[in-house]
């Protein structure tokens, strides 16, 4: 990553990027906003909003219905958006399913498997296993717990090491010939850990398990090629990657998507409907029942274009520089504990930390008074907090529009917070 820096870093002009995000000029409690809650949700550049507005004002109609001009234009824009998203992830057009959010995408896969007839490769029952990890976001954990409850399958999980990594010591025991699904997070939203996809995929292949990779925190921050990753399913969401909320995406290998039973029934997902029963459209329509998220798809494609224009490797390099500066600064502050990997090795920009003697809520509230936005709480990953013996954490997560000066503002802010709460 750093090898790319000298030449490519000059192409990445953070001040020019910032001009595309008007919200970054806001003043909060008398201080310029420092937005470090990007792992929760990112902001949108004007280009994304302009694209959505232009579409809504000039071309909007329902899609895949009717023959009038607007209907044709809207359908073309929607399907073009699918192609753009597919290209962004290294996938084919027909392999991208638009969902409401990432959560719906995990549920789509879990419920589809639950709907499979006995004997199907997707069906689960007693004796079968689903494997996840202890660092999953609730959205990639609870749907699998529910699937196991419905089918009698057993849920297993990789534990975590003290330094915030997956404990792979029992890889062969946890992923075994009974494992039907291995679903895990690419980049942890709480710890920042980037997991060794290759090691896990290799083991899953040995035993014939299907692999779902949660990319909600990787698609926004690093170059992603789903084919090179070698997984079967990949999930991401628009609002964490400069796009709108209300749209997520599931990538699946086409042969799998076409063989999977539907999740939700309704319009658009059918082939022939009779009173006695129906047949279903091939993927991706099979999984897009009802009027889809149309304008949001157009906006999401604009977000992908924006990121591609900057170059995802440049985005990753910029964030790595910020994350390195933050980790180094936190190390120098006494009473600050990073929860997760404390080096840049295989880690992303989400950095969770505990301030000794100050509850994360109070840390977050005090930082807000200084115009600094961080996330506090369990980050929808309560088992991770429990694993590290904290009720919650404060988390700073940078993105392409953050600057080194902003990281320094956070570090100075933390010193002030410590001084205030010590008094």
């Amino acid at each position: 990553m750093t090898a790319l820096l000298p030449e490519r870093a000059t192409a990445f002009d953070v001040e020019a990027v910032r001009r595309d995000f008007p919200v970054l000029s806001r003043v909060i409690h008398g201080h310029p906003l420092v937005y470090l809650d990007n792992a929760s949700s990112s902001h949108k550049p004007v280009q994304v909003l302009d694209a959505e507005r232009e579409f809504a004002l000039q071309h909007y109609s329902n899609v895949h219905r009717g023959v009038h001009t607007l209907s044709q234009e809207a359908t073309e824009a929607y399907e073009q958006a699918r192609s753009t998203v597919a290209a962004f992830l290294g996938a084919q057009h027909d392999e991208i399913v638009f969902t409401k959010n990432a959560t719906e995408a995990y549920n789509l896969v879990a419920y589809s498997f639950g709907n499979a007839k006995a004997g199907s490769r997707f069906a689960l029952g007693p004796g079968d296993e689903v494997c996840v990890t202890e660092m999953e976001h609730h959205s990639n954990l609870v749907p699998w717990q529910m699937l196991c409850e419905r089918t009698g399958a057993t849920l297993r999980w990789f534990p975590l090491t003290d330094d915030g990594r997956l404990d792979l010591a029992d890889l062969e025991g946890l992923v075994n010939e009974r494992t039907k699904v291995l679903s895990f997070v690419h980049q942890s939203n709480l710890l920042g850990t980037v997991n060794p996809v290759d090691v896990l995929v290799r083991r899953a292949r040995e035993v014939g398990a299907l692999v779902l990779l949660d990319g909600a925190q990787s698609a926004p921050h690093m170059p992603v090629d789903v084919v090179a990753l070698g997984v079967d399913f990949y999930v991401a969401t628009g609002h964490k990657m400069l796009g709108p909320s209300g749209i997520g995406m599931l990538w699946g290998r086409k042969d799998l998507l076409d063989a999977m039973p539907p999740f939700m029934g309704g319009g658009s997902m059918i082939e022939v409907v009779q009173m006695s029963g129906s047949t279903y459209a091939p993927a991706p329509e099979r999984f897009e029942a009802g009027t889809p998220v149309i304008s949001q798809a157009v906006a999401l494609a604009a977000a992908c274009d924006y990121l591609t224009g900057l170059g995802m490797e440049n985005v990753a390099a910029h964030e790595a520089a910020l994350t390195g500066r933050l980790l180094e600064g936190l190390r120098r502050l006494p009473g600050l504990q990073v929860i997760g990997p404390d080096s840049l090795h295989s880690r992303g920009s989400a950095v969770s930390f505990a301030v000794e003697g100050v509850h994360p809520h109070d840390v977050g509230q005090s930082l807000d008074e200084l115009g600094i936005a961080v996330r506090v709480g369990h980050h929808c990953a309560a088992p991770v907090c429990r694993r590290y013996g904290v009720p919650a954490t404060a988390r700073a997560s940078s993105y392409l529009y953050n600057t080194e000066a902003e990281i320094d503002r956070l570090l100075e802010g933390l010193e002030q917070v410590q001084a205030f709460w010590k008094a």
Binding site: H361, Q365, E369, A392, F420
Partner: protein, 158 residues
């Protein structure tokens, strides 16, 4: 530092109760123990209540608790115990209502110091919707435990 500005959340009274909480630690005897959590942030409180018959109705004999949470939730629970211990149950429930009303006021209510005493320091919290549930955690646990204790008491007296 701006977090100490008068408009801000962290009043001196709140910080005092946070650093030196009153009536903290679980005690015996008690009638009912409850465990309440704030699922969005992970704060939790375990709280015990003992009610006793007094000359003019039931009285809150003791409230004890243990918990983990932010300054607002911990201080609010401490203030609550000061306000309700030794009070007739009805009067204590009245204070809980007054505190709830204050928390839902979004900064528009002038609290009555005669009723809420140190609780008036939380008036500013009502301007921070994300923190209102912190301030209410201990109070809600107390109301729940007290309602159970009173119901239990009524059954035993039947």
């Amino acid at each position: 530092m701006s977090v100490t500005s008068p408009e801000s959340l962290y009043q001196e009274i709140i910080l005092d109760h946070y650093r030196n909480p009153h009536h903290r630690g679980l005690r015996d005897p008690y009638d009912v123990e409850v465990h309440h959590v704030n699922p969005t942030c992970g704060d939790e409180v375990t709280l015990r209540v003992q009610v006793k018959d007094g000359p003019s109705g039931r009285v809150v004999q003791d409230v004890s608790y243990d918990g983990e949470g932010c300054s607002i939730s911990q201080a609010s629970t401490s203030v609550m115990t000061d306000l309700v211990i030794g009070q007739p149950v009805d009067a204590a429930l009245g204070k809980a209502e007054a505190f709830l009303e204050l928390m839902q006021s979004r900064g528009t209510l002038e609290p009555d110091e005669d009723v809420l005493e140190d609780g008036i320091a939380f008036a500013g919290v009502s301007r921070y919707p994300a923190r209102v549930k912190c301030a209410l955690l201990g109070w809600m646990a107390w109301k729940d435990a007290t309602a159970q204790a009173v119901a239990q008491d009524s059954r035993e007296n039947q």
